[in-house]
Symmetry: C2
């Protein structure tokens, strides 16, 4: 199951950035499961990674290699997360980097490794090593679509976003891909996301743009409240467009940030739409909160509530369950009479109980949609936060009872 049309955008290539996808047969023979990405020498690279303390070996290696604040190659395998694998996992990740480095004529530290798939099993590193020459042969600027498929695990479809805008007669491109479907509640990072632009952006600015953008995209989605050991998102600025984005041109910076944020948000939404067993795409917005912390507490408690999620799955306007979650979300001195709860545009709760204007038909009409908005207006301050989530179906249970992630 998945929500919304299963269509990829037209991928605008990013000059200088190449992707090569091949089969290493890591978990499934013949599966296109290995993606090599080439970053041009002059590019800036920024990254954000999972805050899970048990972060996987490749994430640990990425963080160390990113101390250089640059990278020339990204190597991604699916089918095995190389997480919970101890020293052996680190050695396997390091061998992957060394093999790429030798093949491409760079140093080991210029290679960033990424793995996704089952946790706790040894990485079949010899298969990856054997397939790397084919990945090198496949490197091409138009390799985005193949790569979007090559990084998937339980995903039912590839995910991408691509935009171009023109500034002073010059065209700037931002293109990205992502993967993720279960174990989705990124914390300060994402599942796997790779975004590239041909703008020229220095590394410090690029990192701050990525961090801010992540906080409003990948860090605001949840399928099942479980933060992965392998979440990573990389943003590359090749500079090939010749357009320099920096603080000196505020209008350009604003426009670039807006496009970047939209691409990141679209990629994050694509993960939710393909959430395991998802039949609904749900936007939970908390308005006029006294703090970001309480806004997010209410929003995530709604987004994680199994009872709200099963009601969404049943298209049941069961507003009592939403009210019960708001009541338990730990907001200090919550004034029940002052708040409103909306389902779409329909007010369901006000004055401490069911809204006088509410009708079951109006609630049902909202719940029958595939895309549903839940909005809580706390009337305590001026903070708004939004998170995106899915419903909870029998299919989610089946997928995770059958699949070892």
């Amino acid at each position: 199951m998945a929500v919304g049309p299963d269509t990829l955008p037209e991928f605008y290539p990013v000059a200088g950035f190449k992707l090569g996808t091949t089969s290493a047969g890591i978990k499934t023979p013949g599966r296109q499961d290995l993606v090599l990405m080439e970053v041009p020498e002059e590019a800036s690279v920024a990254g954000v990674f999972t805050k899970n303390a048990f972060c996987a070996a490749p994430v640990q290696i990425c963080k160390r290699h990113m101390e250089l604040k640059t990278a020339r190659y990204l190597i991604v395998n699916t089918g095995n997360a190389n997480a919970g694998t101890g020293q052996e996992g680190w050695d396997d990740g390091a061998l992957t980097c060394k093999t790429v480095a030798d093949l491409m004529g760079v140093t080991d530290a210029e290679v960033l490794p990424f793995s996704t798939g089952v946790i706790g099993e040894k990485l079949p590193v010899e298969k990856i090593v054997a397939a790397l020459p084919a990945a090198k042969e496949a490197l091409i600027e138009t390799g985005w679509e193949a790569a979007a498929s090559g990084i998937l695990t339980t995903d039912t479809r590839p995910k991408g976003a691509s935009e171009q805008f023109t500034y002073n007669g010059q065209t700037i491109t931002v293109t990205g891909i992502s993967k993720g479907s279960g174990m989705i509640m990124p914390n300060m990072a994402t599942m796997l996301g790779y975004v590239a632009t041909d703008a020229e952006v220095d590394q410090t600015l690029l990192q701050s743009l990525l961090t801010a953008s992540t906080d409003q995209s990948f860090n605001r989605i949840t399928v099942d409240s479980d933060t992965s050991t392998n979440d990573s998102c990389i943003l590359v600025a090749t500079g090939a467009s010749g357009v320099k984005v920096d603080a000196e041109d505020a209008a350009l910076l604003a426009q670039f940030t807006e496009v970047l944020n939209r691409v990141m948000r679209d990629l994050a939404h694509a993960i939710v739409r393909d959430g395991e067993g998802a039949t609904k795409f749900v936007t939970v917005q908390v308005d006029s909160a006294a703090s970001q912390q309480e806004a997010l507490a209410v929003a995530y408690d709604i987004a994680h509530s199994p009872l709200v999620k099963t009601a969404l799955y049943a298209s049941d306007p069961n507003w009592g369950r939403i009210l019960a979650v708001v009541g338990r979300a730990g907001v200090e001195n919550l004034d029940l009479d002052a708040l409103q709860i909306y389902l779409g545009d329909v007010c369901i709760v006000e004055n401490g109980g069911r809204a006088a204007s509410y009708t079951e038909d109006a609630g049902q009409a909202v719940m029958d949609q595939e895309e549903i908005g839940i909005r809580v207006v706390l009337n305590r301050g001026d903070v708004t936060e939004t998170v995106w989530t899915t419903d909870l179906s029998q299919e989610y249970v089946s997928i995770n009872a059958d699949y070892r992630s």
Copy 2:
């Protein structure tokens, strides 16, 4: 589905405490859905209630009436929670109390009302009023078993616990019933629980014993992380045994506390065993934590993880999912190399990865059981906490997609 044998204990009556069960036809015609309990005049009564800010009208009334620190009658209906019902809900609860008071010759404030069932629908108070005389007629000291059934909602079976012990040749009884199956993560209270003893205990001590006992029983269970609007637990001490429990006889107080705690814990466990869609009874213990707060954070994050719960349902020793949860539980400066994770008696994680001694067969043998222990040893301090939970099955989703709670 439910876990363990479907047997009620022998209920030892509590002298002076009577229960009467009848049918008011609140949701289902003919269903035994109304329970009246009579507390003798000389008894002490203690109560704990949900901390959900949207607490139901009957809970609000109970809290106000409990300011008297006593009560003569408890009136419980199932089929309608009288929650999210605003002023009308309060009026309906008050009318219920007044009718009981008039019928029994006490004041309104000596009656405690309890409701459980669907949230947000008007209480059919006229049906309750009409059925109260029959409930009065049914009052009897041996009414525990009928009452255990009369308070259920989505529960698949009644829940009870009853113990007697002898002290200086005198017999003391502690007997209780509980209900609950979904929307289960009590906070400072329980679902519905009613426990009575014939010991003589003054109200202040009784309240502190109940609060402490609740913290290690009903406040340590979770089915689906959702705290109800209606959780309530009442403890009555009739004094009819003539045995006074107080601080002056420390040995008696200790023995009484131990029996009370065991009855409370058995009632709490019975709710988990009958958790919606449950096929497993899971004990999550966190040892040698630096604080209670971090022990509970790790324990509840494991108990709430949909990925851990679906693996439990599949009897899959998918230890990587447990490891991932421990890593995201927000423990500051967690030393991964110092901790161990056990499945039953089998060490699955140590030295930052899979335990060298671990075998899939050993893990599978534990997971094949109906009762499963997960133990995390943090090796950071001396705090231990335990919570109890269920697995997550397709049946849970079906129940909550079909039932409006």
